[in-house]
């Protein structure tokens, strides 16, 4: 590999395929992961994200393709020959060893001296705030404690990359939120490249520098949480990340960066976007609009997209009000408004207008 790339990239996956018998689990994945980056592989179960992680760890060998770790091809290397460590979904703490020996395992294998081992283990135990737990056995730990020890056992070896396979899946909601922040802080502090696998889109948005959204063995989109949320490139991404309203339509006119679209309900809307050069008149497209970008009003509004509908349901969820509107063609849209703007409407059955800025629609083809 060229030297310049080696400096920047920690992991490069080049055209990775993985099949189990006839079943193709990972389909031609290519991605580069920068040094010190927190990258999340996000997708529904069975999308190939865990298999991808296991190939980076070395537990599975790709059917074809290359895995480069810090510029070196490790595709066929055994897990114990790669300087990456994994935090397992089930933690996999050795039940026959106490916490100290669990953490010291990797160092003992490397034949570090007793003093070095003691120093390092004490240090990581402090890092995960479990200083006094060295002589406990895994069976005596709570889920959250096991989680921290599993992380400590991995990072004590100063790996080039830390792989985390849904590590917070087994924790309750509150602890999970807390651990999300702790993990993010830990990653910043240590500067280790993290590859994090999850199916929880909120977790991915909270923690990641970049997210790779996977579906059916392929990467649908790679980008920052902001890009993934606000500029989804595929219908799947728009639908999987957060809530969205999806419209189907045909391009009527295309001038500069402005599209005029005829929806399947025979209503017209406009979209302004600078990246639509490839589209032409007559193309069928999807347009997605986030619920919080939409507004409700009793009267018509000028120079915005506007659709008429009837209030079907209003739900109060603390910080926001969620309103379900039934449009003219029976299609339903969701609108999220800050709860302070509330109570303009008496309730269900009211006739209202749903509006949004031309710039707020995202085109997917």
């Amino acid at each position: 590999m060229k030297e310049k790339e080696c400096i920047k990239y920690m992991i490069q996956l080049v055209a990775i395929n993985k099949s189990f018998k006839e079943h193709k689990v990972v389909n031609d994945i290519s991605i580069v992961i920068n040094k010190g980056e927190f990258l999340t592989l996000l997708g529904p179960s069975g999308c190939g994200k865990t298999t991808t992680l296991r190939m980076i760890a070395g537990f599975e060998e790709p059917t074809s393709g290359e895995i480069l770790l810090d510029g070196m091809d490790v595709s066929t290397k055994n897990p114990y020959e790669r300087n990456v460590n994994t935090v397992f979904q089930s933690y996999a703490l050795f039940p026959n060893m106490d916490v100290y020996n669990n953490i010291a395992f990797g160092l003992k294998i490397k034949k570090s001296s007793k003093e070095v081992i003691k120093e390092k283990v004490t240090k990581v135990l402090a890092l995960v705030q479990l200083e006094d737990f060295g002589d406990r056995y895994p069976s005596q730990l709570s889920g959250g404690q096991k989680q921290r020890i599993a992380i400590a056992r991995a990072i004590v070896n100063s790996p080039k990359v830390l792989l985390l396979d849904e590590p917070l899946g087994a924790l309750d909601l509150k602890l999970r939120k807390q651990m999300q922040f702790e993990l993010k802080h830990l990653q910043k502090k240590l500067g280790i490249t993290f590859i994090y696998v999850t199916h929880d889109q909120e977790e991915a948005l909270t923690m990641s520098d970049r997210i790779a959204v996977m579906n059916e063995g392929k990467i649908e989109q790679v980008g920052t949480p902001n890009e993934i949320y606000n500029k989804p490139k595929t219908k799947f991404v728009a639908d999987f990340i957060g809530e969205t309203n999806l419209f189907e339509g045909v391009i009527e006119t295309h001038s500069g960066n402005k599209l005029s679209v005829l929806l399947d309900s025979d209503e017209k809307i406009n979209v302004i976007d600078g990246t639509l050069d490839k589209l032409k008149q007559g193309d069928s497209i999807y347009i997605t609009i986030r619920p919080e970008r939409m507004k409700l009003s009793h009267s018509k509004v000028e120079s915005k997209n506007m659709l008429k509908g009837i209030v079907k349901e209003r739900i109060f969820i603390g910080s926001i009000n969620k309103t379900v509107i039934k449009l003219s063609n029976e299609k339903e849209v969701i609108i999220n408004e800050p709860a302070i703007d509330t109570l303009k409407f008496q309730g269900e059955g009211d006739e209202v207008y749903v509006s949004w800025e031309y710039e707020d629609g995202v085109v997917i083809n």
Partner: protein
């Protein structure tokens, strides 16, 4: 089993009694009464014609301390120990292999172990006599192909006894080992490998310690029966090899010294109990599952 508290719940107590009473009855008839008879017999005296005389004595137990007998006991334990170790060394890789092959081969491999069980072990031991004998299968082939000039002495050796014991008790080692290896979460081995352990290191530091419950259970299941399988040393060891099991059989059937035979039996039971207690204590201390 926990003792039921008296009077506190009379109904529960009585229902427990009715539930276990068939088992209890069987245990009394088939285990407790014979044991009591053997125990009492150990303190009686042998008459001149081999009959039992009801004269109380400690002589039988005193006789156990005679060097000749002590030697037999030590030698029996030694043979059983070797049998157990050989079984363990052979069975571990075998069980490991079964635990890791595809499901369809598992059935086949288990059949290989279980089918011989359907044949009487005495018959199978006779089969070994045919294989190992002076004019047996091995010797006649070796002679025919000119590998040896004179038949080898294979039968009626300690080696033949150990072979017979290992052969007969092998499944008892494989099954608990298989259960513990199969039950081992594969992610432990992956974690070890992930942390830099080579396959051998992962085996020694993780797999083996975590399957010690199987090793212990298998060892007990082989060691204890190997002390008592009298017909194997009898048939394959000939008259020279006297083990504790033969000694008992010999005292009852040949020497017609029932009281002394009973004393030896009691000794064997005590040895067995000691090993079982050791096993249970050890597995409880380690917090490992018992069998």
């Amino acid at each position: 089993m926990k003792k039921t508290k008296k009077s506190k719940n009379q109904k529960q107590t009585s229902s427990i009694v009715t539930t276990i009473s068939p088992v209890l009855l069987w245990m009394i008839i088939l285990v407790a009464i014979p044991l009591v008879i053997v125990f009492i017999m150990g303190f009686l005296t042998r008459g001149i014609y081999g009959q039992v005389e009801y004269i109380f004595t400690f002589q039988n137990y005193a006789d156990l301390l005679k060097p000749m007998y002590v030697q037999i006991f030590v030698y029996s334990l030694w043979i059983s120990l070797i049998t157990t170790l050989i079984c363990l060394v052979l069975a571990y890789p075998f069980a490991y292999f079964i635990a890791n092959v595809k499901a369809k081969y598992k059935v086949l491999l288990f059949m290989l172990i279980i089918i011989p069980f359907w044949t009487n072990s005495l018959v199978r031991t006779y089969a070994w006599m045919i294989i190992l004998g002076t004019n047996g299968i091995i010797n006649s082939y070796l002679l025919q192909f000119g590998v040896i000039k004179e038949p080898l002495k294979l039968l009626y050796t300690n080696g033949a006894v150990i072979l017979g014991l290992v052969y007969t008790l092998f499944p008892f080692m494989v099954l608990p080992l298989y259960a513990s290896i199969e039950g081992l979460d594969k992610s432990y081995v992956e974690a070890a490998s992930d942390l830099g352990a080579s396959p051998l290191q992962a085996f020694l530091r993780v797999t083996l310690p975590l399957t010690m419950s199987g090793v212990a259970a298998g060892s007990v299941l082989v060691f204890i029966p190997s002390l008592g399988l009298f017909f194997i040393p009898d048939l394959l060891g000939g008259s020279k090899t006297m083990l504790i099991s033969n000694l008992i059989q010999n005292q009852f059937l040949t020497a017609r010294n029932w009281p002394f035979g009973s004393a030896v039996s009691i000794l064997l039971i005590i040895i067995t109990i000691i090993f079982i207690i050791l096993y249970f204590n050890k597995s409880r201390n380690k917090g490992l599952e018992v069998m």
